[in-house]
């Protein structure tokens, strides 16, 4: 009996690695600490009412951002571990299997559990405020999106200590990811973690399209809408068309693994090339989904910190919409070397190059926003200026890669790795950082420290160049990706060492940022947080942090950059009679339903139908209970609005 338990435990828990035992201990300790603190301060009720059941887009956004920062930590540690292993030839710090698991989780976490939630977090906190709206179109769905993401992320992260991490790369190509070569649990955690989280992403895409199209404040036509909101619209349109592809593709892989299908297997008539096509039909739009909102952030920051209108508004809108659509026509450039033939390769090479044109146009528009403006260098603008040369070079190497016949020498080498890290880090990650620094006072009602912000900026940028520029060289030296070590005879040592040093600098930069947050939280500098940058759009017209209903009276918009125009005219808010405000009620169903999804996913990974079936039944039950909820809303009385307004204005003058 005891033997059976031991045998089960050794399969169930990941054993034999001190790093993982350490993780087990720290996870246990952290959970105990959280539970103790909440109990001691009697905060369980508060947690439930204020955060776990909230449908307030601002709170949901903050939860997304917090989760993404934690995931940035985990993905970053993965990166540092890899770079440590590669710093010198023939190290055995991470044996092959561990290294392979780490590069897989690094990719999945950074793209799906760090960049996506950070993006959704920014969508959530800012878009309704920019539109002059009181919440998103579907607040309940919004909360459900977050908790599904959280559920999927937890499932995926759990594989580190239970069952074992996946090791087939972030896109899990078959046949290696099929049951024959990958019988373990890791690959199933991968499928369900991403599948559950992906449902949430699709819901967010729908939510924000409707919000943007239907909930703008009176007077705000689409062509008066801020550029960030336009970028969110273009990104969400891509989400809605792309994520179903991911769901179907992972479902097909699941059929192979769970039901013995031969869709992608080596034998039985399986065709792995089909998977590769399908996964990249999602995968390519996905990276544009991530970068388009970053473009929107650059537009906001360029205009605000040049004290000048964004150059070429119509052009920018057109460019983003084109990028959103054309991104669906470029997927095969991820596998030119799979032998599709010259006709196919030529088509996709062309479509890929075409996308470079609107992207480049946007860079010129940002530069000419600054031209004849009054440029100041607060932290958000510093990030923006640093991003331009960085992203432009990354884009250039993208064009080089799109030259299909040349790609046969670049593909799957470190040249490729350097390219995509450059566009993702310099474009997406730094862009979202810039957005966080920019909107931080609005979200939290206190300012971050300029000096620490500058330090983080320099460390991140210098670290980035040191880490990734040598990788272009390594690719040209013939080093391929996903090798856990390399020989002394290859001549790759120096570049790898420099690259590792760069990675360490970026790690240091992250620590500086965390320190900045802790330090600023303690200092609580609340002065002038309503509109600290003298900015241009509606979110800056309300106190920081925004009252839960956002706007006491809906703003009447007459111009682009309406808030700036109002300030220039010396406008002051007319004395308008307040009315009761229609708001959505909190709900516990999203978190409970996501918990049931978690159980289903976990059950499917271990093939425990006794857990899976109740899980799905629970999900269904939640849907039914919610559909009978006839009172999901309420009205905020005028007295309460007056009270909240008075308190908020006192706070953030």
């Amino acid at each position: 009996m005891w033997d059976k338990v031991k045998e089960f435990a050794s399969e169930f828990f990941v054993t034999g690695d001190p790093l993982i035992y350490g993780a087990d201990v720290s996870i246990a300790l952290t959970l105990i600490a959280i539970v103790s603190v909440l109990t001691y301060y009697k905060k369980w009720g508060w947690l439930w009412r204020e955060w776990l059941t909230t449908v307030d887009h601002k709170r949901i956004g903050i939860m997304y951002i917090l989760a993404s920062v934690l995931m940035l930590f985990r993905g970053g540690v993965d990166a540092l571990l890899m770079r440590a292993q590669l710093a010198m030839p023939e190290l055995q710090f991470l044996p092959a299997e561990h290294y392979n698991q780490i590069f897989t989780t690094h990719g999945v976490i950074m793209i799906l559990f760090m960049a996506m939630p950070l993006m959704f977090g920014l969508f959530n906190v800012i878009v309704p405020l920019q539109l002059g709206a009181r919440d998103v179109a579907f607040p309940f769905l919004n909360s459900l999106s977050f908790w599904l993401f959280f559920s999927g992320a937890m499932l995926f992260n759990l594989s580190f200590v239970i069952g074992g991490s996946p090791d087939a790369g972030w896109l899990a190509y078959p046949p290696y990811s099929d049951k024959t070569f990958n019988p373990g649990y890791g690959q199933d955690f991968y499928i369900w973690g991403i599948q559950i989280s992906g449902i949430g992403s699709l819901m967010t895409g729908i939510n924000f399209i409707v919000t943007i199209l239907k909930m703008r404040t009176p007077g705000m036509t689409l062509m008066k809408m801020p550029m960030f909101s336009w970028s969110v619209l273009s990104s969400c349109i891509a989400i809605v068309f792309a994520f179903p592809i991911l769901t179907v593709t992972l479902a097909l892989l699941f059929i192979d693994r769970y039901l013995g299908g031969h869709i992608f297997t080596l034998d039985g008539g399986g065709n792995p090339m089909m998977y590769i096509n399908l996964i990249w039909m999602w995968g390519h739009p996905e990276v544009y989904i991530l970068v388009l909102p970053a473009f929107g952030i650059f537009s906001e920051i360029a205009a605000t910190f040049s004290k000048k209108k964004l150059f070429g508004y119509k052009s920018m809108v057109f460019a983003m919409m084109i990028i959103s659509v054309v991104s669906f026509l470029t997927w095969a450039h991820h596998f030119f070397t799979m032998g599709s033939g010259a006709d196919v390769n030529a088509f996709f090479a062309l479509s890929t190059m075409v996308i470079a044109i609107p992207t480049g146009v946007k860079v010129f528009n940002w530069l000419f926003t600054m031209f004849r403006g009054k440029v100041t260098f607060e932290t958000p603008m510093l990030w923006m200026i640093g991003i331009i040369p960085n992203f432009v070079i990354g884009g250039m190497t993208g064009v080089l890669l799109s030259v299909a016949p040349a790609d046969f020498q670049y593909h799957n080498s470190y040249f490729l790795i350097a390219h995509f890290h450059q566009v993702i880090i310099a474009g997406v990650v730094f862009g979202f950082f810039a957005g966080l620094y920019y909107w931080w006072p609005k979200l939290f009602g206190f300012k971050l420290n300029e000096r620490l912000g500058r330090l983080a900026f320099w460390l991140w940028n210098i670290g980035f160049y040191l880490c990734f520029m040598p990788q272009y060289a390594l690719g040209l030296m013939g080093m391929t990706r996903r090798v856990y070590t390399y020989g002394w005879d290859k001549g790759w040592f120096e570049m790898n060492l420099v690259s590792t040093i760069g990675a360490v600098l970026m790690g240091a930069a992250f620590i500086v940022q965390v320190w900045d947050i802790a330090h600023s939280l303690k200092k609580m500098d609340r002065e002038g947080t309503q509109d600290p940058w003298n900015a241009r759009t509606l979110e800056w017209s309300i106190p920081s942090p925004a009252p839960f209903y956002n706007f006491a009276t809906l703003p009447q918009v007459t111009h682009q950059d309406d808030w700036w125009e109002k300030k220039q005219r010396g406008w002051s808010a007319p004395a308008v009679e307040l009315e009761p405000i229609h708001m959505p009620k909190n709900s516990g169903i999203p978190i409970i339903m996501s918990m049931f999804w978690f159980f289903s996913g976990f059950g499917l990974v271990f093939d425990w139908l006794w857990l899976t079936v109740p899980g799905f039944v629970g999900v269904l039950a939640c849907m039914i209970v919610h559909s009978f909820n006839y009172k999901p809303d309420y009205y905020v009385p005028v007295e309460e609005v007056q009270r909240v307004e008075a308190a908020a204005r006192r706070g953030s003058k």
Binding site: A96, N100, Y173, P174, Y176, F181, L266, G269, N271, P272, K307, K308, K309, F311, S315, F335, T337, M338, G339, A342, A346, A349, M353, A356, I357, G360, L367, F368, F371, R372, K374, T376, F377, I385, I388, P389, V392, M396, V399, L400, S402, V403, P405, A406, F408, Q409, N412, R454, M469, A473, G475, L476, M477, G478, T480, R481, R482, Y484, T485, G491
Partner: protein
């Protein structure tokens, strides 16, 4: 903040400089030091496309620096401030137009070379090509010489100035076959035989590697590709024929089991082994294998 902007640009330039100065031998840049016609053309293409891109990129970088410097807000600044100016047809035409022209140029060049460098296209040569069949295994490369009747593991030799027709398949998860100094790679996939034409114009030993992750032993998928004179090659073939053991079907099955391998030589291999490997998985697709060839092969279980 002016120091930071200068320091910024200078540090970027310096880093590029450092990059190239610390590399020591330029020979290490295999992709930029091709030893065969395919690699040569690919390198030319890389350089040409880089130069064309730089036509746009360099002005953008300079413009960034100039604009940020000139329009920074400070006391006594003389530069114009036009907060409402946000449209110029002339400028828009320029920065839509020039990239369109450059991209069109790159596109024309790309399409031409996509067809001329298509891997399955035979090389123009007065010499008859030599055929080498490659099988990707976990975690080693098996080379079979159908015309010479020998086989090797993790080592492939061929004469210089002779086109090589690689026929590549896989009896393991999808990999990619790459000899950087001779030319680009191609995926090695089960159920089909991909054709890759390469040629070495110089004698020498060249690094070959796998280029698509296949699991635990992937980092061991390196092999040596050696180009020698025709005489040295013929001599090597007869040496292998004379002194090495044969590769039996059982021996192949053992080789196909998961694990790495040293360099090995075989004086013969089972007839139709490569074709059998290809058709083993080819239920519905039959790239690269003629109907006649498939009919001729007896499929062992």
């Amino acid at each position: 903040m002016k120091t930071s902007k200068t320091a910024r640009c200078l540090s970027v330039l310096y880093m590029f400089l450092l990059l190239f100065m610390t590399t020591g031998c330029a020979d290490k840049y295999l992709v930029l030091n091709p030893k065969g016609p395919i690699g040569e053309q690919q390198k030319d293409l890389m350089i040409l496309s880089t130069l064309l891109c730089l036509i746009v990129i360099v002005p953008v970088l300079i413009l960034t620096f100039v604009i940020v410097w000139r329009y920074r807000d400070r006391k006594g600044r003389k530069a114009k401030y036009t907060p409402e100016w946000e449209h110029s047809t002339a400028l828009e035409t320029t920065w839509w137009g020039i990239p369109v022209v450059i991209i069109t140029l790159i596109a024309i060049i790309t399409v031409r070379y996509t067809y001329s460098l298509e891997p399955s296209k035979p090389l123009e040569s007065k010499v008859e090509p030599i055929t080498i069949q490659v099988t990707n295994l976990d975690w080693k490369w098996l080379f079979q010489y159908p015309e010479q009747g020998i086989a090797t593991v993790n080592y492939v030799q061929f004469p210089e100035d002779v086109p090589i027709r690689f026929e590549i398949t896989s009896d393991a998860p999808m990999n990619s076959f790459w000899i950087p100094q001779l030319g680009g790679q191609i995926y090695a996939m089960s159920g089909m035989a991909m054709v890759l034409h390469l040629q070495a114009d110089e004698q020498g030993e060249y690094m070959g590697s796998g280029a698509n992750y296949t699991g635990k032993g992937f980092a061991d998928m390196y092999f040596t590709a050696k180009a020698t004179s025709q005489e040295a090659f013929d001599q090597w073939v007869s040496e292998v024929k004379g002194t090495s053991a044969a590769l039996t079907l059982d021996g192949y099955k053992k080789l196909a089991e998961q694990g790495t391998s040293d360099v090995r030589y075989f004086s013969s291999f089972p007839e139709g082994l490569f074709e059998m490997t290809v058709t083993k998985y080819a239920a519905s697709h039959n790239h690269g294998l003629s109907v006649k060839a498939r009919k001729e092969v007896r499929i062992e279980e």
